[in-house]
Symmetry: C2
Subunit: 331 residues, 2 copies
């Protein structure tokens, strides 16, 4: 470990419903270490905030660094987040998580500047700033995991919208008569193409008496199914799982096309656990379907790609806003 | 008519597939006169450009003005339009209309500065600048006529996207298994809620043996049906037409919700011939459906409304870009 001057580092935190991920970055946004702990959201808001602080300490210790060497901490949180006020307004996946003054409480706990943002917005920002070197003027990010979220980079800047809720790409309706979504409506992209939707379809097919190799390695109730299991099943020639995964990829392609038509970005990036696990299986269908559904002019010179940052997109974007904050303070 | 100094006026032109509308505006964007002629697009590109120039002469004559009193002319054209280069790149509704140097040819014909833009983008701009006094920082416009187009005002500016095609809100897919759209795909908003879609559904129901009062005033083939006829039928208690119109309104509401989720504007404006004719019948259902389908946070303080500019939205927006151009030239 080379010696570093004080205040050379940034910490990015990705607060999820089940786990907290933290990463230490150099001021050039190179990731030098990570730590992960469970969220324990059922223990309440105070505990979650303590655990975020704990995870920051853990990752610094892992990198042989101390809080004194950190310029600022960025945190991506699910749901609606008011970056300016530093408040997590609402998060469907974190019980009792309403109007939480996340920035203030973490600044107190860590004695460091903290900045907060929406998790999928920060994933988009991380991909834009680090993976794509900040080049695309217009970019859409879509992250497919338990749910589907996203973010928009417009004219080179993260676009937040009137209520800071812009980029909810998972709640575009693609199939008005489709299955019920967690948001209460029917046929949202999230309801037909998220990991939750994929697993629900596999379970339903199994209950309807269809066969899948998934039962060979997960047991008859498909307990603890993960996206990687679907990939494994497809590679073993499981036609049922292949059909379900390709159908979801088709829906994602339709959603991508709708967004290309409305936003007309230069680059469209897909990420999240489902894409990471099933990129080879899904991406060709997503791209082909999007190309079929987009208006001619909107596709010229447009790239549709999967992110290479994987699980680190969120902490990377969190480090980006931490850097902006520390620059703003310095200037 | 008061006497005016030279170069006090702006002309806005809305080039449509069947008609050309031109309006004269004061420098404060007050509309003082209009003229309308048919497009005659089958006679070719040269003829259409001559007819635009002719319509500009007509409207000036109507207002007792001459070309010398005009600062600049703005033109809204359908399809993809490159404002910077002044070229109409592609228009599905104008045959042989490809890579037309509209600005250059009109500047030659009129000997005046000309600026061109996409028609629905300019409708959005006209509503934003004149009807809403330029106030909303984020606004979406959706215009429902023969097709469905739109535009986005983001951070106070008209947003064009990477290929200048942004705002194609009619080609968001809302019903992936739905009817075929003019763009080649299935279930686009335009395929289920445009005037074309409404008329197709009425014709199909008639062929299937259902009764409608429309045949009383249009004859058995429903020749020359207009949006206003649907309103008339509903007011006469025609349940078939009411059902078809409300179904379309529901689809529009779903499209509005999807856009609120993705773009999170402060104001959402609906316009175009269908909305103008059927506002009373459709708007309550559009708003109710949108409210049901939007994510909670995205709706706070958001207004969904019909434009009051009607057919004049396009010429108003065209006058707005004409004014920008003349200011740019002056400065």
């Amino acid at each position: 470990m080379p010696e570093h001057k004080a205040k050379d580092f940034l910490v990015g935190v990705d607060l999820g419903g089940t786990k907290i991920l933290a990463g230490v970055f150099t001021s050039k946004l190179e990731l030098i270490g990570q730590a992960k702990i469970s969220t324990k959201s059922h223990r309440g808001v105070e505990t979650v905030i303590e655990r975020i602080a704990h995870c920051v300490h853990e990752v610094l210790d892992e990198c042989d660094l101390s809080l004194k060497q950190v310029k600022a901490v960025g945190v991506g949180a699910p749901g609606t987040v008011d970056t300016e006020k530093g408040v997590a307004i609402f998060a469907p996946n974190l019980p009792a998580w309403k109007e939480v003054p996340l920035q203030k409480q973490l600044e107190k706990a860590l004695n460091l500047p903290v900045v907060v943002g929406n998790d999928c917005n920060l994933c988009t920002l991380g991909v834009h700033e680090v993976e794509l070197k900040g080049k695309p003027r217009q970019m859409v990010g879509m992250f497919v995991g338990t749910g589907i979220g996203g973010g928009l980079i417009l004219n080179g800047q993260l676009y937040l919208g009137h209520n800071l809720t812009a980029g909810e790409v998972g709640h575009m309706v693609v199939n008005v008569d489709g299955p019920k979504c967690g948001c209460g409506n029917r046929g949202c992209l999230e309801a037909v193409a998220s990991r939750t939707a994929l697993f629900r379809k596999v379970q339903a097919a199994l209950k309807a008496g269809q066969k899948t190799v998934l039962t060979d390695f997960l047991g008859s109730d498909l307990k603890d199914m993960r996206s990687g299991d679907l990939r494994k099943a497809i590679r073993k020639g499981d036609k049922l799982v292949e059909r379900i995964v390709l159908e979801a990829a088709g829906f994602l392609g339709v959603g991508v096309a709708s967004l290309l038509n409305v936003v007309n970005p230069e680059v469209f990036v897909l990420g999240g656990g489902v894409i990471e696990a099933l990129e080879g299986e899904m991406l060709p269908t997503i791209i082909k379907t999007a190309q079929q559904h987009v208006m001619g002019g909107a596709l010229k010179g447009v790239e549709i790609r999967a992110s290479r940052l994987g699980d680190n997109a969120g902490i990377t974007g969190a480090a980006v806003i931490a850097r902006s904050k520390s620059k703003g303070r310095a200037g």
